[in-house]
Amino acid sequence: MLDVDKTALQTIGIDYDEGVKRFSGNAEIYETFLLKFSDDATFEELDQAMQNRDYGTAFSAAHTLKGVTGNLSMNHLYEELVSFVEMLRSSTDLESAIAYYPTVKKTYQDLVSQLKSM
């Protein structure tokens, strides 16, 4: 996928150049992992946990996801996850977390469907 559409990626909040740089210039590996992201099961875990109101597991999953998206320069989703994780961290702010979750979910789903089409 070497002639990748960087602008397309930008619309879903992915900074392609930054990502390649993080992979020490190895564009091939970066792209492989971008595509693999859709297969990642962590979001499933998060979704399940939120449905079951298991906020402990949700926190772990969100935290992991945050790390991955950060490393893949999926900055838009990353930023949202940062806020989301903090809300989940404090057990007093769960209301905000629950309210915010749909936003995070949408961003994720948009990103994954865009990636699948590339």
Binding site: K21, R22, F23, S24, N26, I29, F33, K36, S60, H63, T64, K66, G67, V68, G70, N71, L72, S73, Y78, R89
Partner: protein, 367 residues
């Protein structure tokens, strides 16, 4: 130069891959996906590992548990652990440091920063470990040298002791004094000096000085070797002129001591000189050769003076029988052998039992 080996642990494959890409040019990379695997690799290849990059949130065994295990196995002293985390909270960092982490690497990774932090950690520990080794070797070496030095010191002391023994044997032989007299003087002086050390701190005696006085006391009459037979061996009372000659055994003794090249320690040189010169000085200034008064007389000479007096009184002489130890004691206390300092007299009282023991064992009549 050989590449160093680094262990990268993270349950998320992407993270491991990124780190591998960043580090593979400079390091050999070992990978683990959870805490158990990490510990396994450490146990197998621990000696080769220069650093561990450790994710915290992992299934089966998390990073903190790994840290704890490593701490228990005393590995944290040798191997730096850099915790990987997306968590920047203060409690998290505090926890990490408390458990023994060396540093933190934050996600998302920045290649330059990761390499820089890792390099510092690896180099620091390399130096630290190397230094430890060097220090250990040095310490070993130093300890060996100390043992050697101690043995040499012992030998030197022995040599000094031998010199003194030889000298005193010569004197005895010439002087018709018995070998036991020399032994007694040494023991009396030593015992008295110990008492002075314990009771009269103003004289600043130390165990080393006490030993020195004991050794040197033996030489107090070495000067007699310079006195002609006619005077030295005269059976009767000495004329005033003869007495003047006899008195010079003090200064002659000092001159002889001066000639000797002491192998170690000016102390014994000084003390021997003092004893030879001044063991006939008296507290009231009526002694010889210089008529020193009071504490002008070095303490070493004062001590040997008492010992010499006591021994002379309790020994056989051609002009008198020996006095008993009690009689000798009383005579000295009453000043019948010249004046001694009140401190000396007090110390003599304290040491009398020991003097009696010495006399029992080494007195002339024991022969």
């Amino acid at each position: 130069m050989e590449k160093k080996t680094v262990l990268v642990t993270d349950d998320v494959e992407v993270n491991r891959v990124i780190l591998r890409e960043i580090l593979k040019d400079e390091y050999n990379i070992l990978e683990a996906a959870d805490g158990l695997e990490t510990m396994q690799i450490i146990h197998e290849k621990g000696d080769m590992i220069s650093a561990v990059l450790l994710d915290v949130i992992m299934p089966n065994m998390d990073g903190f548990a790994v840290l704890e295990h490593m701490g228990e196995e005393k590995l944290l002293d040798r191997v730096p652990v850099l915790l990987i985390s997306a968590d920047r909270s203060v409690e998290f960092e505090r926890d990490g440091y408390q458990k023994g982490a060396f540093d933190f690497i934050h996600k998302p990774f920045d290649g330059l920063i990761v390499k820089a932090r890792l390099k510092r950690a690896v180099e620091l520990y390399e130096n630290k470990n190397h230094l430890k080794e060097v220090v250990n070797k040095q310490t070993e070496l130093l300890q060996k040298q100390i043992v050697q030095l101690k043995s040499q010191e012992k030998q030197l002391r022995k040599m000094n002791s031998n010199i003194i023994d030889v000298m005193s044997s010569v004197v005895e032989f010439r002087n018709l004094e018995s070998g036991l007299h020399v032994k007694r003087i040494r023991k009396y002086s030593l015992a008295l000096a110990k008492t002075v050390m314990q009771n009269d701190p103003e004289y600043h005696l130390t165990p080393e000085k006490v030993e020195c006085i004991g050794e040197a006391s033996v030489l107090h009459d070495v000067g007699k070797i310079g006195i002609p037979d006619s005077v030295l061996l005269k059976p009767g009372k000495l004329t005033p002129e003869e007495f003047e000659i006899m008195k010079t055994h003090t200064t002659k003794g000092a001159a002889i001591i001066d000639e000797l090249e002491w192998i170690q320690g000016e102390d014994i040189h000084q003390v021997s000189t003092d004893i030879c010169l001044y063991h006939h000085e008296k507290y009231d200034g009526k002694g010889y050769p210089n008529g020193l008064k009071g504490d002008e007389i070095p303490i070493s000479a004062q001590i040997v003076s008492v010992a010499d007096c006591f021994d002379a009184l309790t020994s056989v002489r051609c002009y008198k029988p020996p006095y008993s130890t009690d009689e000798a004691y009383n005579m000295i206390q009453k000043g019948q052998c010249g004046a001694f300092s009140p401190q000396m007299l007090k110390c003599l009282t304290l040491t009398l039992p020991e003097f009696k023991r010495i006399y029992e064992q080494y007195g002339d009549k024991a022969q």
